[in-house]
Amino acid sequence: MAKSYRLLRELRYPDGPSNLAKRRAKDPDVVWKIAPEGSIQTDIPPGSIPWLLEQGKIEEVKGTPSPTKVKEDSDG
């Protein structure tokens, strides 16, 4: 299961499988995902994660995020 990371900085990365060689060849077809600061993402290109962690641009979210709880009706 992919780890989750909270973004401490807005990130921009290829939306879909990352192919760094194509990136550097200036692939004109790349579609970018702009992930806002504060959001939690699971699809950050794996090769970028070490330096993003090291430079404090993302932080790992420990544990599985809780599913949204629906408050049950206590009546009746």
């Binding site: 807005e10 990136r23 550097r24 330096w51």
Partner: protein, 253 residues
């Protein structure tokens, strides 16, 4: 190494004014102040440099132009506040050199008129603070939608291109048509791998043409640099023409 000529001057911007198409000559100079410290008992003069450098833009020659974004509008009011100066000396191309300063003070404006000649105009600028040898991250060009430089070309500063003491970012927007959009927000980005970019420094959102300078708040600037732009609350078909350049401070990583 390469030689460059007048055709390689990609842009000459004073604040949001584009003087490229009317200018024909310019001198960009720096002098270091020296002090005579010769004492008694010596037969040769001794000079020392206390460490003060002075930059100035002089020897400017241009044709008079009354367009709203040209030389007369830029200079005739002699606004007292310092503005941004940006000059691409090796082409209007991402990754090329641009001479930039945030402290251009208008100190002189002269118009000359002669029979049988086009009117001429010239300016003198004093530079307060530093003048940077910056790198163009977004060449002066028009954009018509949200985007980023990666789709054009990002800038690889080289293996040792990153810095650990921040950067200076210069932006000049010479044309802006929001067509109902709220503003234009340009953000300087950097990356270690050229794959994932992190926002490094957001510029102040523009609602009209303008020029700005920012020192990055994040000290680590990585090897690959880029920028992205967003028309906030996009409406209609907005357009903007802007240039962005960055000087990564030493020491490099």
């Amino acid at each position: 190494m390469a030689k460059y000529g007048s055709a390689d001057v990609g842009f000459l911007l004073v604040g949001p004014y584009n003087l490229t198409s009317v200018s024909s000559k310019l001198e960009d100079s720096v002098t270091r102040e020296t002090q005579d410290i010769t004492p008694f008992g010596t037969s040769t003069a001794a000079l020392a440099a206390p460490g003060l450098s002075k930059f100035e833009i002089s020897g400017h020659e241009a044709w008079y132009d009354d367009a709203a974004d040209s030389i007369n509008a830029a200079m005739v009011g002699m606004a007292s506040t310092a503005t941004v100066f940006m000059m691409a000396i090796a082409g209007n191309v991402n990754g090329r050199q641009a001479v930039c300063s945030a402290g251009a003070i208008r100190v002189g404006y002269k118009r000359s008129f002669s029979v049988g000649e086009y009117h001429k105009a010239s300016m003198d600028l004093a530079i307060t603070g530093a003048r940077d040898e910056a790198t163009i991250v977004h060449a002066l060009s028009q954009v018509s939608d949200d985007g980023n430089t990666e789709t054009v070309v990002d800038v690889d500063l080289g293996a040792a291109g990153g810095g650990t003491t921040g950067a200076h970012v210069y932006l000049s927007c010479t044309q802006l048509a929001l067509t109902g959009s709220t503003n234009l927000l340009v953000t300087f980005e950097d990356s270690v791998d050229g794959d994932t970019y992190a926002s490094q420094q957001a510029m102040t959102a523009l609602t009209t043409v303008g020029a700005e300078y920012r020192a990055t708040t994040d000290q680590t600037v990585n090897r690959y640099v880029a920028c992205k732009w967003v028309f906030t609350g996009k409406a209609g078909t907005p357009t903007a023409t802007f240039a962005l350049a960055v000087k990564v401070n030493s020491p490099h990583a």
